[in-house]
Each structure stands twice: as C-alpha cells, then as structure tokens.
Symmetry: C2
Subunit: 381 residues, 2 copies
C-alpha cells in the first residue's frame, strides 16, 4: 500500500506582503503530476491546508481545484485534517459529501476515533485542537497541555487499535525537540505546546504537519512532511518535499522523498551593494527569486531598496549587516546605562555601537564642543 | 413533479446587532420536516443562502447540516444558486462533489447555460452576477445593466430550450415593480438593477430570490418565495413561507404556500410607555418577540429602553412618535432661519418643533428673562 504524506500547504499565505498563490499553484501542479505518476492508494494532508481561518477567495478556488483533480479525476482517496491555521468549522463544510468519493476530511475533533481504512492501512485522524477543546470533548479535567491532550486521545485510539495491523496516525502537533522556523504559529506560549515523541509509539508511522522542514525531527516512525513552499527566510536552506511511503500489512514501511521546486526560489544573499549591482554577480543567478539581502556596507546609503529592486524585482527584505552587530552589543549597553558616565562617554559608546567604528579623539573633541555649547544655551534661558 | 421553492435564508444575519441563528435553525427544522412530509422531487434555493460573503462559523455549520439532511439523509435533490449576499467562490467550494448526490450548487456564473433536468423539469440556473461580469463572460460590450445582462443570458438559454418541455428559471434578481423591504441590499444605485418581467417569458415558472416577500410581485409565472424569516421591521407584516409547486411535463403547474413560523415573531408596537408597562397589556402577547416600539409619549422620559427591556427582553429598536412630527416640520425650519427673527422667536419655534406643544406666554416670559440676563452678563465682561 502506497501513500503520499504532505502537509502545511498554507494556501493564501502572504510572505512579506506578497501572496504566494502563483507559486503554490505551480508546486501543486507538480504534486498532481506526482500523484498521476505514482498512483498512490491515498494522499495524506496533515493540516494547515489554508494559512488562515478565512482564506482569500483565490486560495479557496485553488484548494477546491487541486483536491477535485486528485480525488475525483485521478480517483485517489484523500485523508486530510485541519491544522492550527485552519478554521475547523469552515474547512469542514461539505465533508459529509466528500466521503462519497473517499475524500476523508476531518475538520473538527469529534469523539469518534475510529480509523479510516484504506487498502489495509488504518489511518487515525487527529485534527489540531486546543487542550481546552479536548478537555471538554473527553470530559477529562486533567487535560491542560497539548501533551496531556494528545496522550488522552491516543489512549482512546489504543483501546481499539490492533497492533498486528498497519496503523498510521495523522496529526498536527509540535513534537518535542522539533526544529522550528519563523512561519509556524506557536501553539502555546510558554512551551506547553510540545508533545513528546513516545506518545506516538502505538503507531507504525505518524504523519505530522506543523513544522515546515522534513528534517524537523529525526525519528524512525514520526515525520513531518514539511511545507509545500519556503514560507519564511528562516526556511531558505530547507529542502521542500513530500514523502512517499510504501507500507505492508504489518506496518513495515519504506520511505522516499520527492522534491517540489517552484520556479522562483526564496533565498538570502549577504554582500556589499556594489557587488549586488554588478552584472557579473547577478547574471549568474535568477534575479526574480524572492530575496532577502543582508548588506555588508557600513555608513549611509541612499535608497538601497530602490537600487536593488531594479535588479531584484522580488526583493522582500533588506537588512544591514551592521544591525546584527548592534544586536550582539545590546547586552553591554544595558551595563553602560547602569554606571555613572559622562554624556560624552555615553555618546562615544552609542556611536561605536551604531557604526561599529571607534570614535576618534578628533570627533570626540567636536562633540564635546557641541555639548558644551548646548549646555550653556540651556543654562542661560 | 413536485418541487419546493425557497430563497433568501440569509444565514448569519444580524438584525439590530442580534444573530438570528437560533430562529433560523428553528425555521429550517420546520422546513426539513416539510421536506420529509411532502417528499418533493427537488428543493430550489434561489440565492442568498448566507447573509454575507464571509458568514460566521455558526452559519456555515447550520447550512452544512441542513443541506446534508435534505440532500443525503432525505435523498432529495437540491438546486441552489448564489445571491448578491453570497460569495460565489466561497459558496462554490465542494460543488463538484455535491453533484454525486444530486445537489446542484451553482455559485459562480459560467458560460454553460445547460439545464439540470430533474424528473422531466429543466432547471436553468442563473446565479447573481454584476453586469460587468456578464459582459466579460459573454464577451458582449453592450451589457451595462442588470436588464441587459439577464436578457443576454436568457437569450443563450432560449437557443437550446424546448418550449414543449417544462422549463424553470432559477434566478436572483430585482424584477421591475417588485416591493422592496429594508433588509435587501440594493443591486444597483440609480435604478438600473431592475429587470422587466417579460424577460422571463420563455419559462413556465421563474423561481426568484432577492425580494423578501412572497407578495413582492404579482405575476402568474414569476415568483419570489420570500425570505426564511422577517429580517427587518419593514417586513413585520409580511407572511413568510415557501412555495410548493406541482408541475406537469408541459410546464403547467399548481402552487401552494406553506408558512414558516418561528417561536419569536418580529413586530412593531405603537403605544404610550404606561400602556407598554401595564401587565394587562403585555400579558396578552409574547413579550419575548423581537420588537420595535414606537412611543407615543411626548416630553422627556428617563431611560425608556431600560424600562421596556425589563418587560420586552428582545426589544431591538425604540422610536419616539414625536420624531416623526419633527421630520415633517424640518422643512419649515429652513425658512425660519432665513428670516430675521429675534432669539426669543427662534427659541419659541424650536420649542414647538421639539415638543409639538405651543410655547405659552408664561414660559415665554421666563425664557425672555433668562436671555436678557445672559446678554447682560456677556456685555459686562
């Protein structure tokens, strides 16, 4: 039995103010092609189909079109759950009808933990839910964290699960130790959003969504498929792929990855402005890519964004290298404030932080004169 | 062949800040019961299923539940189009799957004007669309009004229509001469939203949505089913019903109405405050109803809304009868301002307008003294 595991499509996602719809369509078309070629017995989508509870109309149309192609035209069963970015209720509209064609969409959590069986594999669906919802649903006052919620739900499943069969959990959660990136919304402030990996031990494979890298966790049977696209610059170096799993009746499986590659990449470049604007530099790369530039130049530059955009039309973010230095020094700034220092000493410190240059004695002399003059004027009023 | 014609459910509607969801559920349950009893061959919903393009979650759940019950559990085909309050694209999600169980949902207008045939009756579906959309879709630059748009679309249908068969148009439009109420969103500022009734002459029956009264238009073959509930006080005296049509193969039909009655009515009461608060008065009626009160009292009343709410918890709107008088007098006020009048004359006029009482010579004397005193004080500064 073969299934493809994907998650975190985030349709309707805005990255630095730009809709990713065109890229998403392009990569989903690659995905549909993969389904045509691989002819899997099922496609698993582990949550965050949309980026937000009320996605833009284009995202609704894109999801409708892609799922229809996979499910009805290619006659491939789909198993999907909602993630923390989806609205469980809105996503659920029509779900009862979808089952006709073996599209199993579980938007909201229910007390029914019975599996969907597809060609001998049991898929247990746990859509994302706040611990409070699970507490109420299971009528279990002891549930306060995501860990407790997941344990309780897996406990319900274990009661009916036959360990001699092939059992797969489909969930949307943050597994302890997983590597995060900037585009995932944290599940719980203060760390109680984590679920330890041993909670999933009853399953032969746990198909997760939430973290955006396929390498987010190293575990034999627990896996994040990773997101459809790079959705933040912190993901610039991540591979993006879906996982193709072949599983036997006992739950033994082999896994291979299939890369998804949009025509425009998302990447970071660290260089001096002159380099960036030098044809010898930029002609070797796709200047249409979504780019974050880290400028190594120091000192004032007039309209660097305007200059860069002429060469890199999809530049999304510009940072100065110098800012990184500031951040490193910020800590020491606090200690300076606590000591008694002269205004001139404080300014010297400030200048050195802002420019990463030393404040020459010549400059110091000029500043001292300015300060003295200002003080005199203030006193004479 | 029997079908039920309904429209304008407006799920998610707020009336004076109150969600109508409970009432809507109640009346839809009556509707489901009617379907169970009548066993129609189809249910027709002529647009405005939702009240807005992004309806609240409760409305999405209610629509999903009711349509599932009718279509899947009661195995009744449904024909539905979007109205001007719906988002064509959002409503369309899943429509391709719904056809499996003969739920024909046409959200967005397409170039395909072929009918849905149910037990010998052809249903032609024209969801609501702006003239600009129709102009683009039909590639016909002459389309600028709703009339031109509807004529062009009906023209497309006429080319394929067999007049010897039973032909029904399902549309969402404002037919010329129709009686409006306050809860319908006008289709076009300036009156070009109207469609003359003769446009629909090729059809044996035209099942319309948009106007909220089943009596909105008097025509043998064109009919508004009316809305599910009263959605504004201008509808307080309207009957609310659905239409049950029995049609033969030639398109001859008979029609009966079936009333839908929520447990809470929406109505207006015009009375004095004392009357309204008198148990002898209010004990004869359902004080839980959604009520608009028109107070006949003149002069100041302290917190009338607070007093009334104790007896009528669902009072939604309070008007003073006196305001109506003011409106009538407003015109004459303008003429007064243009003349040269003394401050005392102006105040007299103002008093009479605000109270609808005459300003007695005694009061006039008091006011004169006050004014003189104020003037003296002002001059002495």
């Amino acid at each position: 039995m073969k299934f493809i595991h994907t998650a975190d499509w985030h349709l309707g996602k805005l990255v630095h103010g730009i809709y990713m719809t065109t890229q998403q369509r392009e990569v989903l078309q690659q995905f549909v092609k993969l389904v045509e070629e691989e002819r899997p017995d099922a496609v698993i989508i582990a949550g965050d189909l949309y980026d937000r509870s009320v996605p833009p109309v284009e995202a609704v149309e894109l999801l409708n079109e892609m799922l229809f192609t996979i499910n009805v035209e290619l006659k491939t069963p789909i198993v999907a759950i909602s993630g923390n970015h989806d609205s469980a209720e809105r996503l659920s509209f029509g779900a009862s009808w979808f089952q006709h064609s073996r599209f199993y969409l579980k938007g909201g959590l229910t007390n029914d933990f019975s599996p969907v069986n597809i060609n001998g594999v049991n898929f247990y669906l746990i859509p994302y839910a706040e611990p409070g919802i699970v507490r109420e649903l299971l009528d279990d006052e002891s549930i306060h964290s995501h860990e407790e919620a997941m344990k309780a739900m897996v406990g319900k499943i274990e009661k009916q699960l036959n360990p001699n069969e092939a059992n797969v959990l489909v969930g949307h959660a943050f597994v302890l130790g997983g590597t995060t990136s900037d585009s995932e919304r944290i599940l719980s402030v203060g760390g109680s959003g984590c679920v330890p990996s041993d909670v999933f031990s009853p399953f032969d494979y746990t198909a997760l969504g939430h973290l955006h890298s396929p390498d987010a966790i190293k575990h034999k049977t627990i896996r994040y498929s990773g997101s459809l696209l790079k959705y933040s610059f912190s993901e610039a170096k991540q591979r993006k792929s879906v996982s193709i799993i072949e599983m036997d009746e006992k739950g033994n499986f082999s896994l291979k990855e299939h890369s998804l590659t949009p025509s425009l990449d998302m990447r970071e470049i660290e260089a001096f402005l002159d380099e960036l604007l030098d044809p010898a530099f930029y002609q070797q790369q796709n200047t249409e890519d979504y780019i974050k530039v880290i400028l190594k130049d120091e000192g004032a530059i007039v309209d660097p964004m305007g200059k860069l955009r002429k060469v890199y039309p999809n530049i999304l973010h510009l940072e100065r290298k110098i800012e990184a230095i500031d951040l490193r020094k910020k800590q020491s700034y606090q200690t300076v404030r606590d000591e008694k220092k002269s205004d001139l000493d404080l300014f010297t410190h400030f200048y050195e932080q802002m420019t990463s240059q030393s404040f020459s004695s010549e400059k110091r002399e000029i500043m001292k004169n300015v300060m003295d003059k200002v003080k005199l004027e203030a006193e004479s009023r």
